[in-house]
């Protein structure tokens, strides 16, 4: 505790605020800069079509990043989300003949169930989140394939156009998945800022023993964040199935790492106790934008980047943003 004292005590409040604002808006600024860069450099980049494509695809990453943000805030981690997306997409497809409500609730519930298992194992058996969710990463993938009977895609009932609309439709000229994501973030933002659940999640991440001794029901809140993360991954899975017209048991490989990267780029510390829903949104979108820009750059035909170079660039970009983040964050702690 004293070491935190020491760091924070040297800060001068005015400057602290300025820097914390900078570190929060630093990522946003990067995002905006990239958009401006894209707009100036590529034709078709600023088209409504590209914008809508971008949102439709990245809404899924946004949703799992939101869940991941809550988990990370409590000092945990959820590696299972990628597999859960796959599993829930299959569930949505399998339930699609029974109507859109059943399909959507079924997918969310399936994801929530994996989250519940994660939460129970973590809180009751006291197994570390990394290991628990590493196991469910395998398990949920297995379930996805089992439910899909090893087929690469499980078609949605063509009669269920309402479900397809949730993935492929537009609402007020915005892609429906994007709208769903934004609603989720608004609720998430309020929950983190002003609901006891959000505040207690933050408190647990900042000091689990202390929170317990202060009378918080630590187990239940932790359970809550994993269920939330699972359910949001389930929602993303539903969107995936709706968007592609089929459940995708092999989809979502490595999505958990994208989500973690998004949260971290947004400035949330993996150690827990601090975090922001909005920065997470910006972080997730920023990472998605890199793909988009790289695609357009390839289209220019000036340099042809092999997918291999793209991973090198993505790794380097992640490093750059995270370092920038932590630099600004650290400034905050100095005087």
């Amino acid at each position: 505790m004293l070491s935190t004292d020491r760091k924070a005590a040297r800060a001068n409040p005015g400057r602290t605020q300025l820097l914390s604002a900078l570190s929060q808006y630093g990522v946003l600024a990067t995002l905006i800069l990239l958009i401006v860069f894209g707009a100036l450099r590529y034709t078709g980049f600023m088209s409504e079509y590209n914008f809508s494509t971008f949102l439709r695809y990245n809404s899924m990453f946004g949703l799992i990043s939101l869940g991941m943000c809550f988990v990370i805030i409590t000092g945990g981690i959820d590696l299972s989300v990628g597999s859960v997306v796959a599993m829930s997409s299959v569930v949505a497809a399998l339930l699609s003949p029974y109507g859109v409500v059943v399909a959507v609730l079924g997918a969310v519930a399936a994801g929530g169930l994996v989250g519940l298992i994660n939460g129970l194992v973590i809180t009751r058996l006291n197994i570390q989140p990394f290991i628990t969710t590493l196991a469910t990463l395998l398990g949920a993938r297995g379930m996805a394939l089992l439910l899909a009977r090893n087929q690469s895609g499980v078609g949605i009932d063509p009669g269920n156009t309402a479900l397809t609309w949730l993935g492929q439709g537009d609402f007020l000229r915005l892609p429906v998945p994007g709208v769903i994501m934004i609603i989720a973030f608004v609720i998430g933002g309020i929950a983190l800022r002003s609901s006891p659940f959000g505040r207690h999640a933050l408190a647990i991440g900042g000091g689990e023993d202390a929170s317990k001794l202060m009378g918080l029901n630590v187990g239940r809140i932790k359970l809550g964040v994993y269920v939330l993360s699972g359910a949001l991954a389930g929602l993303a899975g539903m969107i995936l199935a709706a968007q592609l017209g089929a459940g995708q048991p092999t989809e979502g490989l490595g999505w958990e790492l994208s989500a973690i990267a998004g949260v971290v780029v947004g400035g949330t510390l993996l150690t827990g106790g601090v975090g922001s829903v909005w920065s997470t949104l910006v972080g997730a979108m920023l990472l998605g934008l890199i793909f988009n820009i790289l695609n357009f750059e390839n289209g220019k035909g000036i340099i042809s980047l092999s997918p291999y170079w793209q991973s090198v660039i993505r790794g380097g970009f992640l490093l750059l943003v995270v370092v920038l983040q932590s630099r600004l964050g650290r400034q905050e702690g100095k005087g």
Binding site: T43, Q248, F296
Partner: protein, 301 residues
């Protein structure tokens, strides 16, 4: 029903190629063939790699549409999910040619939604392997099947084609069938384990060359002779595997040639010229037997 968009006759096009992944030799060879041909003909190839994600492939396709390429070659990762985006391309005035995997005919049709399909028939490949085995088994009837990546459509099709034929022949028995992930190292490990657990096995059917080559190492490690004690059968027909057929380590390979470039661009040219194209252009894939392998080695990819 709207018509397919026309393609103007030009010396140089900006064409998209939406590849599904580039983590195995077959895909890499396919990409290279497309790039080489584009370069040769002076076209600009806009290349995206979906890294094994259907969702990303859809997004990749859309970013090509946003960039207003002249035409798109699409190697669809799956049969249903790509249908809507193929329709979007058509609406945007971009003709699409499918490579190596098809799209669900219930959702989208050749000649109206996309130009045509160029590729192989995975089910047929499995069938050809089974047919050869039934003729040339010489009493070897206990089969270990090394499946491709669980859930991948070539794996499912190659399994279905092979298993269906074998099921009709009561002499043969598939004693074990497990996924080797289309990879050499995994294929080897799985083969090692299965050979240990099923000493009666005397045939290994691998869904691709990589796993077959891994299986050959596994057979050798188990102290047996590949090609003699245990027959090895495979699909793809890359140079390394064909050389092994020549050496007698692998007994039979059905070709699934990834050199799509020439045929793909020829099809594009024909389409621009307004020629009538069939709904499917199936590659004339060879096979490599101990007799034919030597002759085919030089032209194997």
């Amino acid at each position: 029903q709207t018509m397919l968009p026309k393609l103007a006759q030009k010396a140089s096009y900006k064409v998209g190629f939406a590849q599904t992944e580039s983590n195995n030799p077959w895909r890499i060879a396919q990409t290279k063939s497309m790039q080489d041909e584009a370069k040769k003909l002076g076209h600009q190839l806009v290349y995206t790699d979906a890294a094994g994600s259907t969702a990303k492939q859809v997004a990749d396709m859309r970013s090509m549409i946003a960039q207003k390429v002249d035409a798109i070659f699409l190697a669809p990762r799956e049969d249903k999910p790509l249908a809507p985006v193929v329709a979007e391309a058509r609406k945007a005035g971009i003709p699409v040619i499918l490579l190596d995997r098809n799209i669900d005919p219930a959702l989208s049709k050749a000649g109206t939604d996309y130009v045509t399909f160029v590729g192989s028939d995975f089910i047929k490949e499995g069938q050809r392997v089974a047919d050869w085995l039934i003729k040339n088994a010489a009493g070897k009837t206990n089969i270990i099947e090394l499946e491709g990546t669980t859930g991948a459509s070539p794996a499912n099709d190659r399994k279905k084609g092979f298993d269906d034929v074998i099921a009709k022949n009561s002499k043969f028995k598939i004693v074990a069938s497990q996924s080797g992930n289309f990879a050499r190292d995994t294929g080897r490990q799985v083969a090692e384990t299965l050979l240990q657990a099923h000493p009666e096995a005397n045939v290994i059917y691998a869904h691709n060359d990589e796993m077959a080559i891994g299986a050959v190492s596994a057979i050798q490690a188990a102290g047996k002779v590949p090609g003699k004690d245990i027959l090895v059968l495979s699909i793809d027909g890359g140079k390394e595997a064909v050389q092994m057929v020549v050496d007698g380590k692998i007994n039979y390979v059905v070709e699934c040639n990834p050199r799509f470039g020439p045929k793909a661009f020829a099809t594009l040219k024909d389409y621009a010229a307004g020629k009538k194209l069939p709904a499917k252009i199936i590659n004339a894939d060879r096979d490599y037997t101990p007799q034919s392998a030597k002759a085919g080695l030089a032209s194997a990819y």
